[in-house]
């Protein structure tokens, strides 16, 4: 079983007719995800992927006709915040934003808007979510993991795949993997996901993958200490990153003295989390 997405997820793809959109839609459908519609303004009425998926001009219309409850966003950065707002206005409960490169100011505004509405946003700059055997929303490769009882939450993309793959090689599986995205302002935090794993009957252990920048890991540590009874193992990337330099992810800027890997590791260890030195070591704590 899983959190956030499952066999009943009815997904729409915003930006379905773009290169990335169509490619990953196809992959998600191969995985078994119910992709009920796509949205591309101006292309409503078309059908894509050999006539399997109808395209609508607006999310509103797509929801009205298909009963979608989840959306994944592949539109370019300058249109992405509008896409998020359109999805929430149309009543989408879970919005997963893959797009990277959204200006911080736009995200601050959209986050404040979402806080007044009822939707949950995962991302932006997220690889999406994967519940093996149930549903895949986003771009996490489906074949690198299998069903199991480990919940994974991560700010990273390929680093997460690395961990999933290492687990699979040891025949360990996951309940759900949630990529919360590496941007400074996002919709869903470590804390939100940890809380869901804690109450999910099918998750027994939790893997948390963090990186330098911000204080999300520190806040997660505090939350774990107070609310999480399941064992948590963590890896924090960026021990060797020089402070103050930008590391590709906007999220990986070390701000002031806060957000250093050492601070995060200390906070997590203080909360009883096993923090490992490199990704493969995670396995030792899950056996």
């Amino acid at each position: 079983m899983s959190i956030l997405i499952n066999k009943d997820t009815r997904l729409i793809v915003q930006g379905i007719t773009g290169r990335e959109g169509i490619f990953h839609t196809s992959r998600m459908m191969d995985y078994g995800t119910q992709v009920v519609a796509g949205v591309t303004p101006g292309k409503g009425g078309e059908w894509v992927l050999e006539g399997k998926v109808p395209v609508f001009d607006t999310v509103h219309r797509a929801v009205e006709i298909t009963g979608a409850n989840t959306s994944v966003i592949f539109v370019p950065a300058r249109f992405a915040t509008d896409a998020v707002m359109e999805a929430t206005d149309a009543g989408i409960a879970l919005i997963v934003c893959i797009t990277e490169g959204i200006p911080i100011r736009d995200m601050m505004k959209v986050r404040q808007y979402l806080d007044q509405q009822g939707s949950r946003l995962v991302g932006p700059n997220s690889p999406g979510l994967l519940s093996p055997g149930e549903c895949k929303v986003g771009i996490i490769p489906g074949h690198i993991t299998q069903p199991g009882n480990i919940g994974v939450v991560s700010r990273s993309g390929t680093l997460t795949y690395e961990v999933l793959y290492a687990l699979k090689l040891q025949a360990m599986g996951i309940s759900t993997c949630v990529g919360i995205g590496g941007d400074p302002i996002n919709g869903t935090s470590f804390i939100d996901v940890l809380g869901m794993f804690e109450v999910d009957a099918h998750t027994d252990k939790i893997v948390l993958i963090g990186e330098i920048g911000g204080t999300d890991e520190e806040r997660a540590a505090e939350y774990i200490s107070d609310h999480i009874t399941k064992p948590v193992v963590a890896f924090i990337a960026g021990r060797t990153a020089p402070p103050g330099k930008r590391m590709g992810h906007a999220g990986a800027i070390v701000e002031g003295g806060a957000g250093l890997a050492a601070d995060k590791i200390a906070a997590l260890e203080y909360a009883g989390v096993a923090v490992v030195e490199y990704p493969e070591k995670i396995l030792d704590f899950l056996k």
């Binding site: 490619f23 950065a77 300058r78 490169g101 959204i102 200006p103 911080i104 100011r105 736009d106 601050m108 505004k109 986050r111 404040q112 771009i139 996490i140 490769p141 690198i144 991560s154 700010r155 990273s156 993309g157 390929t158 680093l159 997460t160 795949y161 690395e162 793959y165 290492a166 590496g182 400074p184 302002i185 993958i209 990186e211 330098i212 920048g213 911000g214 204080t215 806040r219 890896f235 990337a237 960026g238 021990r239 060797t240 990153a241 020089p242 330099k245 930008r246 590391m247 590709g248 992810h249 906007a250 990986a252 701000e255 002031g256 003295g257 030195e277 490199y278 990704p279 493969e280």
Partner: protein
């Protein structure tokens, strides 16, 4: 993207922040004529995008146009933290009564901008924040409503600014916020904001950092990028959409994904060596981009070994292999290399690389251990 002091202050001035009279000069001669124009004592300030220019001798107070010319000549001949000084700002000198700090940046945890003020500006503000936290006042700003006058007034009252300066301070704080938000900045800072001996409030120094992701809507600001200030390798990387940062170690690494790239660096360090760079080729990189990336790595004379760590998803391992081979064809170097490819088309990738003289690895730790061993060996030779 960082802006030079003179660019930052020019922008500030457009939003009502009071700045000293002054202009930027590319030559000592220019500096002299600006000094003559301004009359009286002037300050010659190196325009470089790194901190610590004061300690490095990059700021000089002079009293005549001739002294200005001489000081500019000296500063324009300097290197500060490895960066040659190509421009100086010539500003009228101010008699300083007191120094204030005023800056605005984004607070990730609060998810909004925050304006910070302190009566103890000028010296290292981070040191003040650490040792005298009460001397730092913050006000969070609603990103939708913007900075309000009462918030600026709160800062003025809290830093015990004399009442006669409130009006100007409030204008400047609100102006600073507007330039911050209208430019999609991630930092806009006045340090020091001074009260002069003749009792004026003036922004002596200014600094801005812009959100690269928002530059598309600020073509005027994007044009201000000072290419001279970037290391050539980083400039080239940016042009090809690579995220590259030179570091001081010996092991060059090429990875897809920033988190995995950092993890790779961490593991290299863990096994006893230092990474020569951070390099994220991004998602779905083609052979050409990979070749450019490898050339960047190999151009660094410190590199004693190279490690490839690719987790194929959108990125195809065979494309990466083709890029590596193309770069190697050109370079003909003899740097030892370790490749670890996982995921999409990994078999084809390994098959292609078999043609090159390359060590294969199965896991991240395995790859790092092998790369470290090769670097040590290569250094011993």
């Amino acid at each position: 993207m960082k802006l030079h002091e003179y660019r930052s202050k020019q922008l500030f001035a457009k939003y009502g922040v009071l700045i000293p009279r002054g202009r930027v000069a590319m030559t000592a001669h220019e500096a002299k004529s600006i000094a003559r124009e301004l009359g009286g004592p002037v300050v010659i300030k190196a325009q470089v995008l790194v901190g610590g220019r004061g300690k490095a001798g990059g700021i000089r107070l002079v009293h005549t146009p001739e002294e200005a010319e001489e000081a500019a000549r000296q500063i324009l001949g300097m290197q500060i933290k490895g960066l040659p000084v190509r421009k100086v700002l010539v500003d009228e000198a101010a008699e300083i009564r007191s120094e204030i700090y005023l800056g605005v940046t984004n607070d990730r945890a609060a998810r909004c901008p925050v304006m910070i003020a302190s009566a103890e500006g000028g010296i290292d503000i981070e040191e003040v924040a650490r040792t005298l936290p009460d001397k730092i006042v913050r006000v969070h700003i609603d990103p939708l409503l913007g900075m309000r006058e009462y918030q600026a007034r709160y800062l003025a009252v809290s830093i015990e600014l004399p009442r006669e300066h409130w009006h100007d301070f409030i204008d400047m704080a609100c102006g600073l916020y507007r330039v911050f938000t209208n430019s999609d900045a991630t930092l806009a800072e006045i340090n020091p904001l001074v009260i002069t001996d003749d009792n004026r409030l003036v922004a002596l120094d200014g600094k801005m950092v812009l959100d690269d992701n928002a530059l598309f809507r600020h073509p005027d600001l994007a044009e201000m990028r000072d290419l001279d200030e970037e290391a050539p390798a980083e400039r080239e990387a940016r042009r090809f959409g690579l995220s590259y940062l030179k570091l001081d170690g010996t092991i060059g690494c090429m990875v897809n994904g920033a988190g995995l790239a950092m993890a790779t660096m961490d593991v290299i360090k863990l096994f006893g060596a230092e990474p020569a760079n951070f390099l994220d080729i991004g998602g779905g990189a083609g052979a050409e981009k990979v070749a450019v990336a490898l050339n960047l790595i190999l151009r660094d004379a410190n590199v004693k070994a190279v490690m490839f760590n690719i987790f194929g998803g959108i990125t195809r391992c065979d494309e990466v292999a083709r890029g590596i081979l193309a770069a190697l064809d050109e370079s003909k170097g003899d740097i030892p290399m370790v490749a670890r490819l996982v995921g999409t088309n990994e078999d084809e990738g390994y098959k292609l690389l078999a043609k090159a003289n390359m060590i294969m690895a199965t896991s991240l730790a395995d790859a790092a251990q092998k790369a470290v061993a090769l670097a040590v060996e290569s250094q011993l030779q």
